[in-house]
Amino acid sequence: MRNPQLDAHGELTHLLTLEGLPADVIVRILDTAVPFTSIAERDVKKVPLLRGKAVFNLFFENSTRTRTTFEIAAKRLSADVINLNIGASSTTKGETLLDTVDNLCAMNADMFVVRHAQSGAPHLIAAHLNRTGRTHVHVVNAGDGRHAHPTQGLLDLFTIRHYKRDFRNLTVAIVGDVLHSRVARSLIHGLTTLGTPEVRAVGPQTLLPTALSALGVRVCNDMREGIKDCDVVVMLRLQNERMHGALLPSAGEFFKHYGLTPEKLAYAKPDAIVMHPGPMNRGVEIDSAVADSDRAVILPQVTFGIAVRMAVLSMLAGN
């Protein structure tokens, strides 16, 4: 079966996951994002690329940062943005996901940015659009369950490339709640596709998925061993809302073993950068002394995220 994200010419038509996305497509997205970074520094923070296009933000799950940055990205491309807070709308009245999509298509939607608690929901929408011949409508996955968050993965890759230039000599540690993290999954696929020689997943066994080594990831339960000589440390948020059952003794216990403090960061390379997809839990996975230091590139990640999403939206709209 053809990769459902690519059209017959191998061009990106939906962005659903970084898994299986060819390296040249990923690099092209990152390259396209570079000129978009400068638009924010201008007098008029807008280009007319998506003028007249209707972008629907379909958020079935809460989000502030991702929804806002997608909205800013679409608006800086001059698209019309419609935000749907689905929790408060038709699905609660019993409408199915695909009926909602068909109705929005009847309103002449050009693009859907979808976040859903169920893994695979954006894929379902994309397959439905392809099957019904609506190939001019594009879907961007803005996070589905534990599965994927490709634009976050891309902005993480963009940030790493910005500070470290090349992936082929890097050691990257992803620390914390890897089990519940679609961010981690997308980043791991992106890093391995771009040839990162060492990716480590660091955390307690209860928060690491069992199949990690199949992805080419080195698993470490000890934090100091896990971040030793790393170039990049990616801290993940402890996802309390997705935890069912006793995976951890307490947040304080977690911080003691896996919270990133200046003392633990000293095990990484002296020029290692610290990333976090947000929202941060200070004192749970990261110490304020690290989060506010010049090693942290957490706020540049947010800024780069807008440029990366502009690149994705404009590449999809042009294909």
């Binding site: 396209t32 000129p35 400068s38 007098d43 008029v44 807008k46 280009v47 007319p48 042009g318």
Partner: protein, 174 residues
């Protein structure tokens, strides 16, 4: 027979000398116009800071051709507001690239004056846009695109390529 690009550049510089303001900013349209802007800034008397513009985000054929693979960065390291700007491009054809570049300049501020300098004017205008200075006028078959390239030693060379896939898709449809 195509004219020699280096000689045409000298002709263009001769026409600009004495006419271009001493403090005019030069803005080259990527890629050919950027090379020309660098060269002209040194040939024309006065102090001419150089900026570069990539009009990909402003083109009117985006719906038909999508985003081209390599978008370069627009870099205007000066204040556009009130300035005299000489836009520089390699080939003037339909006028759509110049239109896109003027639109983009206005998103950085309101220039006091914009002039257009092109190496070659090949006719075929689809918009009411004319060059202030041009090095040569040239008739080229409609289905051929006219391309400026730069050798390793920096020498500029004009060549035809084609037939063009699409009137707007080539790099020479300035």
């Amino acid at each position: 027979m195509l004219p020699d690009a280096e000689q045409t550049l000298n002709l263009l510089a001769d026409r600009m000398r004495g006419a271009v303001a001493f403090d005019a900013l030069f803005v080259g349209i990527h890629s050919g116009g950027a090379w020309l802007a660098d060269r002209l800034a040194k040939l024309i008397p006065g102090d001419h800071p150089v900026g570069y513009i990539d009009v990909s985000f402003y083109r009117d054929d985006f719906r038909r051709t999508g985003l081209k693979p390599e978008v370069k960065r627009t870099e205007l390291p000066f204040e556009v507001e009130g300035a005299t700007i000489v836009l520089v491009d390699d080939v003037l054809n339909t006028g759509r690239s110049a239109r896109a570049a003027i639109n983009e300049l206005f998103d950085y501020g309101r220039p006091g004056r914009i002039e257009l300098a092109v190496l070659v004017d090949r006719g075929g205008r689809e918009l009411p846009i004319e060059a202030t200075y041009s090095g040569a006028r040239l008739a080229v078959a409609r289905d051929l695109s006219l391309v400026l390239s730069r050798g390793a030693d920096g020498t500029l060379v004009l060549a035809t390529e084609g037939p063009a896939r699409d009137d707007m898709a080539g790099g020479s449809d300035a």
